[in-house]
Every structure is written in structure tokens, then in C-alpha cells.
Point group: C2
């Protein structure tokens, strides 16, 4: 490694994750948001992305919008398809992490086993599980997409929290309780602080 300028290095052989991290000045890592529908996963992920963008950090958010209409458009909501949905999201997140990106995934991902499987395919410290906690009553009151209403009417079957289980994370790296703290920006700041404190962001060579 022979530095050519402040952040450009001469390179022989394949570019590795470490090389990309050195160029970007931050680590590649997966922030895995999990929680009930309406708990605030997507809003917090998007706001965290805003805060990180202001710092010049490379991020990407995987959510229902870009996954369900694209990569996983062939999957439905059967138990097998739900597993496969999370498996593929985990594998794509792994590619983004390898690419040196801070990738955020905003899916209910109700099963502990599915989330733990993703944790296992990533390296130590690359999977940050963020439990976006909110009681069912709060989420149901918010009901931004009207899904709880439909679930109560039986129009949606196996809806997490109503007719299907949500398995809380046992040892998440972070818990963001959006029933107690409703300000999205304040909640997102906690995530950036976590990344700063734990050495994921480094701005010196």
C-alpha cells in the first residue's frame, strides 16, 4: 500500500472491503431495523440516512418499496416466502456491507430465527440489530397504511401483532422506543451516536 494522495491508494489484486472502507472513511455495516408495522422503522432509517449523508457517508436503505417490487416480486406471504424474503434481503445486505456501504433494512422481520440467520452470514460487528419498539396500541393508532384496520376486519391474514407473532430481539445492539420518544430526528441521532461511539465512522487516516 503506497499512498498516492490523502485518500487514494495504489492497489494490486482485488479491491477488498478494507480498501473500500479506507476510501470511504467509514465501515461497511448493516443496520437491521425490526419492529411492528407502524413502529417507525422506515422513517428512522430515512432520517438516519439524511444525517449520515450530511457527513458524507455512503448509505442505502432496503425496504418494501425497492425490494418487493423488484428482487422479491416473485414472493408472496406464505411462511416459506417470508423466510425466503428475509434470506434474500440478508444476502443483498451482505453484498452492500462488502461494498463498504452502511446499508439499512426496514422490514418487520418478525422471526428471531430469520434475523439470527442474517447475523450469522455477516462478520462480527457487521450486523447491528435495532429494535424499533412501540406498543401495539400506538402502532395501531398510527396505522399509516391502514393495514391494522384491514387486519382487524380479517382482510389481511397473518398480520404481525394481530394474527401472527412478533418475536422481540433478545439482545439487540440498540433499542429505539418510539412510544416514549416520538421525534424521528432525536431517535435517528441515537443511531448515529452509536456508530460514532463504536468506531464505525473514522475521518482520519
Amino acid at each position: 500500500m503506497k499512498p498516492k494522495s490523502k485518500n487514494i491508494y495504489w492497489h494490486e489484486g482485488n479491491i477488498t472491503k478494507k480498501d473500500r472502507e479506507r476510501l470511504a472513511k467509514h465501515r461497511g455495516v448493516c443496520l437491521w431495523f425490526t419492529g411492528l408495522s407502524g413502529s417507525g422503522k422506515s422513517s428512522i432509517a430515512r432520517e438516519t440516512e439524511n444525517l449520515l449523508y450530511e457527513k458524507g457517508i455512503r448509505t442505502y436503505v432496503l425496504d418494501g418499496d425497492n425490494i418487493r417490487h423488484g428482487l422479491n416480486s416473485d414472493l408472496g406471504f406464505s411462511p416459506e416466502d417470508r423466510n425466503e424474503n428475509i434470506r434474500r434481503i440478508g444476502e443483498v445486505a451482505k453484498l452492500f456491507v462488502d461494498a463498504g456501504i452502511i446499508v439499512m433494512t426496514a422490514f418487520i422481520s418478525p422471526y428471531r430465527q430469520d434475523r439470527d440467520r442474517v447475523r450469522k452470514i455477516l462478520n462480527e460487528g457487521e450486523f447491528i440489530e435495532i429494535y424499533v419498539e412501540a406498543d401495539l396500541e400506538t402502532c395501531e393508532k398510527r396505522d399509516p397504511k391502514g393495514l391494522y384496520k384491514k387486519a382487524r376486519l380479517g382482510e389481511i391474514k397473518e398480520f404481525t401483532g394481530i394474527s401472527a407473532p412478533y418475536e422481540k430481539p433478545e439482545n439487540p445492539e440498540l433499542i429505539i422506543n418510539t412510544s416514549k420518544e416520538t421525534n424521528v430526528k432525536e431517535n435517528s441521532k441515537k443511531i448515529v451516536e452509536y456508530l460514532e461511539k463504536n468506531g464505525y465512522l473514522f475521518f482520519t487516516d
Copy 2:
């Protein structure tokens, strides 16, 4: 948009592809390498990545190593599975392009229809098809993985070029003939030049 410093912008709302491109100073784009086994797709993709890394450009290579063992580990080599393989790679490439990365895919991808389907899910100018051309004789002589030998012995069925067709691109953005020019670095330089000439790399605000 209120610039805070040279390449950091204040942002409200979701971060878009354009925002990421402004931060990175290059476009998000897919370089889709296609060609026979042994034509040099992976070597050229990796060397192109080296050249772009020296310029501080964010890249990622999708190839058999990181796709077949991960995202597509559930797929075999039946016609349906081959289609699904390329479909998923295309969808993942689309996510990387949206993330503002120069993503390179190094797969034989022998069917025109599969490649054109990927071109269609991307926006105008985001899909650069690079035909890595080499005659079968040359590829078979190189045979870096010993696959042609196995195919000739009938140990691999439906092997592209031997017992399965390869459909040449009709209007690729670039043709790199590795039978004529065998130097990987020279071939990779042509790709970087293409990106420079066509406005994919911009280093001024």
C-alpha cells in the same frame, strides 16, 4: 439545496440517486460484462475496478463467487434457474446503481432476452453492455477452471459454447476483443475511457 461545504449538502426528504452521485462525483451505472467462459470477463472487471479505485470511485463486482454462494445458492442450472439467476443479478445491480455505485457484473449471461430484460429495468444510460469477445478456440485453450475439458467429456451438460448456445449482443455499448488484445490492463483502460468520454465520471461541482 444549500451547500455546506465542497461536497456536502443539506438535505430534506429522502436521499435520491442524484444526491448520491453528487456526493460521489460519478454516476451510478451497471457495466454488464457478457461473454464465453474464459473470455476474460472477471479479470477485466477486477482490473477496471482497480483503475477506478485509484480515481476514488465507488465500485462493486458481482460475480459467481459472491452470488452463487449467497443470494442464488438455491438455484441450479436448469433453464428456469438460469433465467432466475440473471433476473436476480439484474435486480441487485439496479439497487447498486440506485445507490450510486458503478456495479460490474461478470456472468456468461448467454441469452439476449435475459440481458435485455435487465437493460429494461434500468434507466436510459444506466446499462452498459460490454461484450467480451473471444473465439471459442482461444477460450478453450485458456480453460482457467478446466470447465471446457469437462464439457467435452460430457461431465458438464449444456455448457455455453459447447453444448448450449451463446447469443452475441446485437448492439453492445462496448466490445472488448480479448483474442486480439490480450493485455487485461489495456482492455480495462478502454472501459474507463468510455466512462470518461460519456460523462459518467465528473469531478467538478
